[in-house]
């Protein structure tokens, strides 16, 4: 018994073939890239950390040297950036300092190293060096020392993507993928957005038993005429009372109060356009 005409049978056959081909194609198309797995550290990995130089403790910056380098070692700004910086210095001198790090955004890299007034600590774990800052909740740099390369696809962040390796007792750090909006700052009132393609090479090492040097070479082709080299200095503190504690920048915008319902709440304080606190609501 014929259940369908030759035309229908032919159509059905073509459909089956097409479906089969489509099925094979779809099975091949989404070839999944295998995940890169970070291996668990071995006992040897942990033991190897002991061979690294001792960078424990709390490191606070030499601010007077930051101040001095504004004049003694200015970045080679291009013409456009130089004009902006000059205007910012004029405004600062007039008592209207530009708020470079507004809205509690991180000072970011490399300005954290360049102009910070706050301390940091440096942690070694297998495959990574981590810098933790004071004062901003999100002041953190992850420097990968596990041999990885920078990612193929750029994913810009405030502190960029950092890979490092040890040359003797010096940590050499290469950082890329920094957000173009991140300023290259030389003070808290003078800095311009890097506008993209910024890269830094750092050589971090002990210059003395308790003095850390961060030698930076900064490539910022959109705002500098050539790479800029500078060294930033940090002092080690070991007194426990100087241990870094949590610091959330935006807390400075808020006062701790108890509302009518008896709840402990934060309420806004008044700030000026330059960032200083103008008034605090009464309790």
């Amino acid at each position: 018994m014929k259940i369908c005409s030759p035309t229908i049978r032919k159509s059905f056959f073509v459909f089956i073939i097409a479906a089969s081909v489509a099925s094979q194609t779809s099975a091949q198309a989404p070839k999944k890239t295998p995940s890169v797995i970070n291996p668990p550290p071995t006992a040897q990995d942990w033991a190897d950390l002991a061979k690294l130089p001792d960078w424990s403790g709390v490191w606070n910056p030499k601010i007077t040297d930051q101040d001095a380098q504004v004049k003694t070692n200015p970045p080679p700004w291009n013409e456009v950036a130089a004009k902006k910086i000059e205007a910012m210095f004029a405004e600062e001198k007039a008592g209207r300092p530009r708020l470079i790090f507004s809205n509690c955004l991180p000072e970011a890299h490399p300005s954290w190293m360049l102009v910070t007034h706050n301390a940091m600590e440096i942690l070694f774990t297998p495959g990574r060096v981590t810098m933790l800052g004071e004062s901003d909740g999100n002041r953190i740099r992850r420097i990968y020392t596990d041999g990885r390369a920078h990612p193929d696809v750029s994913d810009p962040t405030f502190h960029g993507h950092s890979i490092g390796h040890w040359e003797g007792e010096t940590l050499v750090v290469d950082t890329v993928d920094i957000l173009p909006e991140v300023p290259l700052a030389i003070s808290e009132a003078a800095g311009v957005p890097n506008n993209g393609d910024m890269r830094t090479i750092e050589r971090i090492h002990l210059a003395d038993k308790d003095i850390l040097h961060v030698d930076l070479e900064i490539f910022a082709p959109k705002i500098l005429t050539k790479p800029w080299k500078t060294t930033r200095i940090f002092f080690r503190q070991r007194a426990r009372k100087f241990d870094i504690v949590e610091g959330v920048c935006v807390q400075g915008d808020l006062a701790e109060r108890v509302n009518a319902e008896g709840d402990h709440v934060f309420v806004p304080v008044e700030k000026s356009a330059w960032g200083n606190t103008v008034s605090v609501p009464a309790k």
């Binding site: 606070n60 809205n103 004071e134 503190q237 700030k271 200083n276």
Partner: protein
Amino acid sequence: MGQFTRFSCTIAAFFVLINGISSVAAHHSTTMFDHSKTMTITGTVVELRWVNPHVTLTVNGSLNEGDTPADWLMEMTSPGNLVRAGGWRRDAVKAGDKVEVVFSPLRDTEKKGGALKKMTVLATGEVFTANIREQEKPGLE
């Protein structure tokens, strides 16, 4: 989108913008204060806000004898820097303590405020300073 809705959105965006402008805490330069001038007031602590990135101290007092006492808002560096550079503690003072504060005033003299340089607790004679550049050596205690 209706005309009223568009208008409402515009108004809402305006207030979001205004709120954004009034909330700009950050690390900032201190040239809004006139560092060429130094003033001193003696008064009563209203509040010490032990917060990042800038601690504030409100003191009720007057510049000149006979002036009506008013709240003066002193701004300082961060808690960590105050501990390292000026010997501060979260409980260095509490509301009601009598203090003498030395400060550089705001250039805007309409506002009562300044950058604190030194605070003396009158009951104990304890002195606290606020110069962040006084921590530039290792091994501080």
